[in-house]
Point group: C2
Chain length 221, copies 2
DNA sequence: TAAAAGATTTAAGCATACTTAAATATTAAT
DNA sequence: ATTAATATTTAAGTATGCTTAAATCTTTTA
């Protein structure tokens, strides 16, 4: 499988997870930075290889075979991210960018070596689950983006996902890190702002950032 | 630069070092496992990009630009080899095979991170020198293959280079490791066998293996 | 519900990286 | 010095992965 094919399958898989997004060729094309025509073309080719289902003007859907391949690429991606993050002094964005390349140059044997070395990790440094060698993904905690949380409740940060340098910089500056607990103070719905309290400080977070911060309710016994 | 181009330049560079081998398209094709026609084609394209000099029926020669690119790929290859060897339980052949893939998926930044983490290594685990970021290669010791050594002299092993699993297995079984000292007992020239003494044991090595073992004279003061 | 806007597909074309088969040049052998 | 063997190049063709422009379909909106 070429890097182009791997990225294509991976993108569809990720879009399907985020039910909000449609998986028509156009969206995939945009995410990959290629033309709509190229994405349609790829879709037809991959459907001939039984990696996805494609009917004109419909959303693309991975076949079990396609999903399995996507999961193997995602596994390699997240294993590299975890390894790079633990081993070197690299940021959450840097590890993603390097893993985006390395994932296509990783033998199954190499993935196994990383997996064992890292002691079978379940989550990568962004809080995303790492599929096992059979493509099985660990139970994902019930999560929502900060943008959609309720006022006056406590949450724990469990995922930070973005391709934006400034987002990670913002998180870093404001102690927004996986595992930390926060309280949602107020939702300024009209202006799409979320005010939270973290480490005793109040901060107001615009939609552009709050949409990338996933949280889970803190168990208030 | 594509992986194909990188492998092509790298192979020419390595062949040029080993003066024994010619660098006509045919030899490169054989080494890369592609057809002669494909190699000729690639040679013409790369000469248009000023990466090498190509005149019909002549040996290929890297331009300064081509050599510089080849050295960067070799640098990445050998940095990965060194890193994998030190970090995981991988053999001299395994690290080579993985590095062959990883070298094409490595940003300059990633190479720098490896280089610093490894504390600016000069040699990879096979004993091959690692070019620095400017493509400068450390002084290489005066070496020859075991096959061409003189009888009744002492040598130190400084390089082991091969793509053959059995070769490395042989080395391992017989304590043929970089740094170890040996004595050449006898050259059976007609049968192309070299008898050496290592760790008190005598072993006879056929040309297929002795050609992959590089040694340097031990300084007898 | 019909036109306008927007998305998707088709068509034509290009670059890369390969293939096999035929033509041609070089090298080795008689 | 020819001839034969070998190597190299050219030619024609294929698959992948992209492009832009035009045609077609779907969705929105008036
Ligand atoms: Mn990728
Ligand atoms: Mn991740
Ligand atoms: Mn390679
Ligand atoms: Mn090496």
């Amino acid at each position: 499988m070429s890097a182009s094919t791997e990225n294509f399958l991976k993108t569809i898989y990720c879009f399907q997870k985020l039910e909000a997004r449609d998986t028509k060729p156009g969206s995939i094309a945009k995410a990959l930075g290629i033309s709509n025509a190229a994405a349609t073309d790829m879709a037809r080719k991959l459907s001939e290889k039984d990696l996805l289902e494609y009917r004109k003007y419909q959303a693309l859907q991975l076949t079990p075979k396609g999903e399995s391949l996507a999961l193997q690429v995602i596994r390699k991606h997240r294993l590299w991210e975890t390894f790079l993050y633990r081993t070197f002094d690299m940021s959450l964005l840097e590890i993603h960018n390097e893993a985006e390349l390395l994932e296509h140059a990783t033998s199954d044997r190499m993935a196994e070596i990383l997996w064992n070395y890292l002691e079978k990790p379940s989550f990568d440094p962004h809080g995303d689950p790492i599929p096992n060698v059979y493509g099985f993904v660990d139970f994902e905690k019930d999560s929502k983006v900060l943008f959609k949380t309720e006022e006056d409740r406590e949450y724990r940060i469990i995922r930070l996902v973005s391709n934006d340098e400034e987002f990670y910089s913002f998180c870093c500056d404001n102690k927004i890190e996986i595992g930390n607990e926060i309280k949602v103070v107020k939702q300024y719905s009209k202006n799409q702002l979320t005010e939270i309290s973290i480490h005793g400080r109040q901060i107001v977070i615009p939609k552009e950032f709050s949409n990338n911060i996933y949280v889970t309710k803190v168990n208030e016994q």
